[in-house]
């Protein structure tokens, strides 16, 4: 459904994306992960026909995004990050406007279907300007679904939603993704893990990792962090900690706590605790630190953007 080959885009001297290659099949939910400014929005805009790439080729449903832009636009439902809504229109009028622009036959039917899918029945005749952020997001999604597109491109669809809405939104996307190709961007790792069949991690305009969420999780378990708070912390403590097998790095935070990075999937906590006590320090606190996406990027990009080594099965089980 989506094929991207050697896609690059620069804004003058600033390179937004560089030589991207990926595919997405029908019925697949593709997650696009990356920090702000990684090039997610640029890629999605190119696929939606908003702007042409500087180099490379992209096809959506078999049509070139530059040469056959109109055909692509007919088949793509696009929800930009900054949800494009007219505050002076009601949800119904807004959808009617879009349906007319897209020249949809059976207009009324499609409008009500879209409203029902996103659960806006009760607010269909409310002015969009008066809706809450979550409801606006739904109105935007209804617009993207209106013409039953083959490909749905959603740029940070859950941003600004409350937790309950996020859960609902994810269910909705999973349902939609059964028949259509969905490409969604996010910077919340857990979201991608829950919803997507496949995840692309992009950083500085390049794909760092492409894998299923399950495999990705396994990879990430390979590098764990433990936060420590120790009374009487001094240089001697570093030596003690570094002697513990599996510790790769000791780092001091501003608040006086220590962050220990461990390499293998092995849990170093019991041994580390014993070592600290044995060296006559008082251990006040010890807790594992969940890796944030930023940490993962650091991890993934540290070795020349190469993916970290996969653990073998035995290590994986131990880590679990």
């Amino acid at each position: 459904m989506i094929q991207v080959k050697g896609l690059s885009k620069d804004y003058g001297s600033r390179v937004a994306i560089e030589d991207l290659n990926f595919n997405a099949k029908r019925g697949e939910i593709l997650g696009f992960l990356g920090p702000n400014g990684a090039g997610k929005t640029t890629t999605m805009r190119i696929l939606a026909g908003y702007m042409p790439p500087s180099e490379g080729k992209a096809t959506v449903a078999g049509f070139d995004v530059v040469e056959e832009s109109m055909e692509v636009r007919k088949r793509v439902g696009y929800l930009p990050e900054n949800v494009p809504l007219y505050g002076d229109m009601t949800v119904y009028d807004y959808l009617k406007f879009m349906a007319d622009l897209r020249q949809i036959e059976e207009r009324e039917e499609r409008i009500y279907e879209a409203i029902e899918t996103v659960g806006l029945e009760e607010r269909a005749f409310s002015y969009i300007g008066k809706l809450s952020k979550g409801l606006r997001q739904r109105a935007g999604l209804a617009q993207a679904l209106l013409h039953e597109p083959d490909v749905l491109i959603l740029d940070e669809p859950t941003i600004g939603l409350d937790p309950a809405q996020i859960i609902e939104f994810r269910k909705l996307i999973q349902n939609i993704g059964k028949e259509r190709t969905v490409m969604l961007s996010t910077h919340i790792l857990s979201e991608a893990q829950q919803v997507c069949d496949r995840v692309l991690i992009i950083n500085n305009g390049q794909i760092v990792v492409e894998d299923s969420p399950e495999n990705l999780q396994a990879r990430l378990a390979g590098a764990q962090q433990v936060a420590l708070r120790v009374d009487g912390d001094d240089d001697g403590l570093d030596k003690v900690l570094n002697k513990v097998k599996g510790v790769t790095r000791v780092q001091r935070e501003k608040d006086g706590s220590l962050v220990i990075e461990t390499s293998s999937g092995k849990d170093v906590r019991p041994e580390m605790a014993r070592a600290i006590i044995k060296a006559k320090y008082d251990l006040l606190e010890m807790r594992p630190v969940g890796m944030s996406l930023e940490d993962i990027f650091l991890e993934l990009t540290r070795e020349n953007a190469g993916p970290p080594e996969l653990m073998d099965d035995q290590e994986y089980e131990e880590a679990e």
Binding site: P52, M70, R73, K74, P84, L85, F97, D100, R102, Q103
Partner: protein
């Protein structure tokens, strides 16, 4: 065509929810109303010597366009850019030129609506004086107003594609109108050279104030207005297209 109409209809309807549009309509109707009252009273006072003339209503309306039309067109693309809805239009299966023409048509129709409401004054004038006003001048004058509005709206819509700030659009549009209204006629009046001839052709008052407003309808004037509108909208389309490359 139906896509252009969809855009135009939304644009037109939007003015009826916009305070700026109401302010503009109120300003035009109020000022023209005051001019009408002074016209009628002065016409009756100096009875026998002076007869109220529709040109004294038509010409002030065209002058008010200088301020009214920038206020009407400033939001057209600037607001879409600012709120991000431009992304919706540029990813819908509609060509850029269709968007530009649709937007122009919507704003133009709204201006025609305002111009239309000023008809009450000449009509009233017609019943107040004997033997009534010159109907031919009234028709050609209003035709001229429609063309001038068409040109100004086209320029305003095009300028609004350059800016995401409505204030910047407003000021630039008014600046361009002032150049067209007062500065181009200066070299044109000098006469003689080819340069002055060109300026004279470009000066739209030579196609409005000197002709349509006083009752002369010539094909060359209509060609002039239509080609200026076309050119302005072409620039607007190119501007919208280059936005994709920025």
């Amino acid at each position: 065509m139906s896509k252009i109409w969809t855009i135009a209809r939304r644009e037109y309807k939007q003015y009826f929810t916009s305070p700026a549009a109401y302010a503009v309509a109120a300003m035009i109707l109020l000022i023209i109303g005051l001019i009408f009252v002074s016209e009628v009273s002065s016409g009756i006072d100096s009875f026998g010597q002076y007869v109220p003339d529709v040109i004294n209503i038509i010409f002030p309306i065209s002058f008010l366009f200088l301020f009214a039309i920038p206020a009407i067109t400033m939001h057209v693309f600037s607001e879409e850019t600012n709120s991000g809805t431009i992304e919706l239009l540029l990813t819908a299966p509609i060509r850029d030129w269709e968007v530009v023409i649709g937007k122009w048509l919507g704003a133009f129709l709204f201006m025609l609506t305002i111009i239309g409401t000023t008809w009450v004054y000449p009509i009233a004038l017609n019943y107040m004086i004997d033997p009534g006003i010159d109907q031919g001048v009234l028709l050609s004058g209003y035709l001229g107003l429609a063309f001038v509005a068409g040109v100004f709206v086209a320029i305003g819509v095009t300028i609004s594609t350059f800016f995401s700030s409505q204030v910047a659009s407003f000021i630039t549009t008014m600046g361009v109108f002032i150049v067209m209204w007062w500065l181009i006629p200066i070299p044109a009046r000098l006469g003689g050279t080819a340069w002055a001839e060109l300026m004279n052709y470009l000066d739209f008052n030579s196609h409005f104030a000197a002709t349509l407003a006083i009752g002369t309808i010539a094909l060359s004037d209509i060609v002039y207005f239509v080609s200026v509108i076309t050119f302005a909208l072409l620039v607007g389309t190119v501007s919208l297209e280059t936005r994709r490359w920025r």
